[in-house]
């Protein structure tokens, strides 16, 4: 019998349908991957399976957990099912844990709630659970003392505390670094296999789902477009949407290679070092200083795309802030077209800044919500020596909006009226309005769905070819690196461990850390080849 069963299930939030006509089963011992982009209803499906839909959601059809329909269950009966029959692993382990309780207490609480044990026994059971999820640290520690991966392990311990027969994991590794992501996925799969649990794995990441799923279901705008055996769906998709999703996730833009290695570099960084003084300890003491960036050197040729890869704490953000002049390094030089960024002042600095602009990741924090697109895009025009007339400003804004594929009328709208992909176009337009030679892209496509990401990568490639732009492209995503960069730097703990042409570094890594990163990154084609 199926442990989880959606039978023609439809869910609406008020007037807005989130899911319609979903029929999907998960059997014990089976891993089902539920794939979709943002707005596909995949998280709604996960919440419905746990009976955790917010107030105001209306359900049609049936959602059965262990043969029992959620709509017919009282609050108390539902509480008994949650934890005992099904456990849930959330995306963001920090907010899923209570910051004021020790991790042992939180796991013990889950044990007590689901198994009705006494305090002492539950505490012992909690320690056993923490050991089972591979946490060999004191159960008396608190969430803030743990790394993201360790927190997610605590979340998993809580999910399995009641010995459930089904796990529901909603983007369980999206907030984690790649190497941690691989370890957490291994752990989840091992637990599922050992205990014969069913797993509903909800994710946007095709490579990740491809690695582990027995069956795959693909959602688009609340509708199931395809489901079947994982290898079938991934290698011979029947729905056009699945096909395009697979295609777009592998997408590599056509890139014109007209880089002259002999030309003087746009950006030349030598011996860059940025050290932060240690955290305050007690009233007067300070911890050891943190070497965020240590002796980093590289150059970027005109028209070249240089990738910087690194996990959190690798120093890539500190490096960017120094290069952009938002932070001052302790040592090293940063030359932009041969002129030092640190030593420039006034008019000269403004001139240099025109040559280098940036696009950031966060779609919410990138724009002042009180300004319209026209004002946002015109911001860097402040760097011009001669102030422009209103008409000239308007003209430049409209020209650059068309350049990035937006309509000039969009200038009067506000950022919240745009989708994620359009916002990154606006951010790009803002960077390009002063006609820079170098654009720094800080995880600029990481928050985007694969189909939109492919469009933005195409746009970046086209602009580079048309305008001779160079990019400094920072990302944690190796598949994006492979698709768009000429050369790549791999950073770890503030140092460059490997650098070279992208093809060479990513196919024949010389440093063990690069090899480790590559092995941990889910790659669709490699997984398909392995599983075939």
């Amino acid at each position: 019998m199926n442990i989880l069963s959606f039978q023609d299930a439809g869910i609406r939030y008020g007037d807005r349908p989130a899911l319609s006509g979903l029929t999907l089963d998960v059997a014990p011992g089976e891993i089902v991957g539920l794939i979709g982009e943002s707005g596909s209803g995949k998280s709604t499906a996960a919440l419905a399976a746990m009976g955790l839909l917010p107030d105001g959601a209306s359900v049609t059809g049936r959602v059965l957990l262990d043969g029992r329909d959620w709509s017919g269950l009282s609050e108390r009966e539902g509480d008994r099912l949650r934890g005992r029959v099904a456990g849930m692993i959330f995306q963001e382990p920090l907010t899923a844990l209570n910051p004021t309780l020790s991790i042992g207490a939180q796991v013990a609480e889950a044990v007590r709630a689901t198994r009705g044990l006494g305090r002492r026994v539950a505490w012992v059971a909690a320690q056993a659970l923490l050991a089972r999820v591979g946490l060999n640290i004191s159960a008396r520690r608190y969430p803030h003392q743990l790394s993201g991966g360790q927190r997610q392990r605590v979340g998993i311990a809580i999910a399995i505390a009641g010995g459930p027969r089904l796990l529901i994991a909603d983007e369980p590794t999206t907030a984690l670094d790649v190497t941690t992501q691989a370890q957490i996925m291994d752990l989840i799969v091992r637990l599922v296999r050992d205990d014969g649990m069913g797993l509903l794995l909800v994710s946007h990441d095709l490579g990740l789902v491809a690695q582990v799923a027995d069956r795959i279901a693909v959602l688009k705008e609340g509708r199931l477009v395809e489901q079947g055996a994982a290898m079938e769906v991934l290698s011979r998709p029947t729905a056009p949407y699945t096909w395009s999703l697979l295609d777009r996730s592998r997408h590599r833009p056509l890139r014109a290679h007209a880089i002259d290695p002999a030309a003087p570099p746009v950006l030349s960084v030598t011996g860059l070092t940025r050290t932060y003084s240690g955290e305050r300890q007690g009233l007067f003491g300070r911890g050891a200083p943190v070497h965020a960036v240590a002796d980093v050197s590289f150059t970027i040729a005109p028209g070249e795309t240089l990738g910087v890869v690194g996990e959190s704490g690798s120093g890539k953000s500190s490096l960017l802030r120094c290069v952009l002049g938002l932070d001052r390094p302790q040592a090293g030089t940063i030359l932009l077209n041969g002129r030092s960024v640190q030593d420039s002042r006034g008019t000269e600095l403004r001139g240099l800044r025109q040559q280098m602009q940036a696009v950031f990741q966060d779609p919410a924090g990138s724009f002042n919500p009180r300004q319209n697109v026209g004002r946002i895009v015109a911001e860097p025009l402040h760097l011009l020596d001669e102030p422009l007339t209103m008409a000239q400003r308007r003209q430049r804004v409209e020209r650059v909006l068309s350049l990035v594929g937006l309509s000039p009328d969009e200038a009067d709208r506000y950022p919240h009226q745009f989708s994620g992909g359009q916002r990154q176009r606006i951010a790009l337009a803002r960077a390009l309005i002063v006609e820079p030679r170098l654009v720094v892209l800080d995880e600029a496509v990481s928050a985007l769905d694969v189909s939109i990401r492919a469009d933005i990568l195409d746009l970046l490639a086209r602009l580079s070819a048309e305008l001779g732009l160079a990019y400094l492209f920072v990302s944690h995503d190796l598949s994006v690196m492979r698709a768009v960069t000429d050369r790549v730097l791999v950073m770890k703990q503030g140092r460059i461990v490997e650098q070279g042409p992208t093809v060479q570094v990513l196919s024949h890594p010389q440093h063990p850390y690069t090899a480790q990163l590559l092995a941990a990154t889910p790659d669709l084609d490699r997984v398909l080849a392995q599983r075939a």
């Binding site: 938002l326 600095l349 800044r353 924090g365 002042n368 009180r370």
Partner: protein, 266 residues
Amino acid sequence: MNALRAGLLLTGVFVAAGLLSLVWTPHDVTQVDIGARLLAPSAAHPFGTDHLGRDLLSMIQAGAAVSLSVSLLGVGAALLLGVPLGLLAAARGGWVDEALMRTGDLVFAFPWLMLAILLAATLGPGASNAVLAIAILNIPVFARLTRGEARRLWQLDFVAVARLAGKGKARISAEHILPNLSGPLSVQATIQFSLALLAEAGLSYVGLGVQPPAPSWGRMLADAQTLIGTAPWLAIAPGLAILLAVFGLTLIGDGLARHLRRGEGA
């Protein structure tokens, strides 16, 4: 009816009554009429009269003008000074931030009434000194709120972009930080306004606010105290006025906060 509208309506009644008192009140508030002393509420005197025969409705009306303007001036002055100080602390950081915030803590450390009495004792009682006391007490409230929110905003990417566009800290504070503070500041300002009303009543109650013969809610309460057994309406009218005015402003603050949260959610 939602909280915001109810609050605006209630506060609007007091503002209208106060404004009206500047040109017309049912009776002259300074006119003493011993023959009509301590009359219970009636058609001629809806709220009754006090021990000097003055019409309570007229006094409440005139008191509204005094209380509201003292509170408004006090909170307004605190906003005008506190917000720039908060912006400065957030933009400069380091010792400037420390010095400003620790000075604010110093003000917070004193009980407000003691500080007000200290001020009145040195500068003498009166409406302008009540404004001063309310302003001084509220400056650190706005400075601290502004600094906290501004520091959060300084971390955001659009500020980094503005710095890349060569804009200085003052300009970024004005263009990018301040406009995004209007929500939390307006909520806080209404809350502080209601607290200032209470403070003004408190100061008048102990005789340090507006001086006679100008009427004031706080002093009306103080005067009612000895006669509360024989003429309870003397206490009820100003008491209700203070209660309802503070309640109206609190409703506005509450409604504004809810309105802003909804805006963010959309």
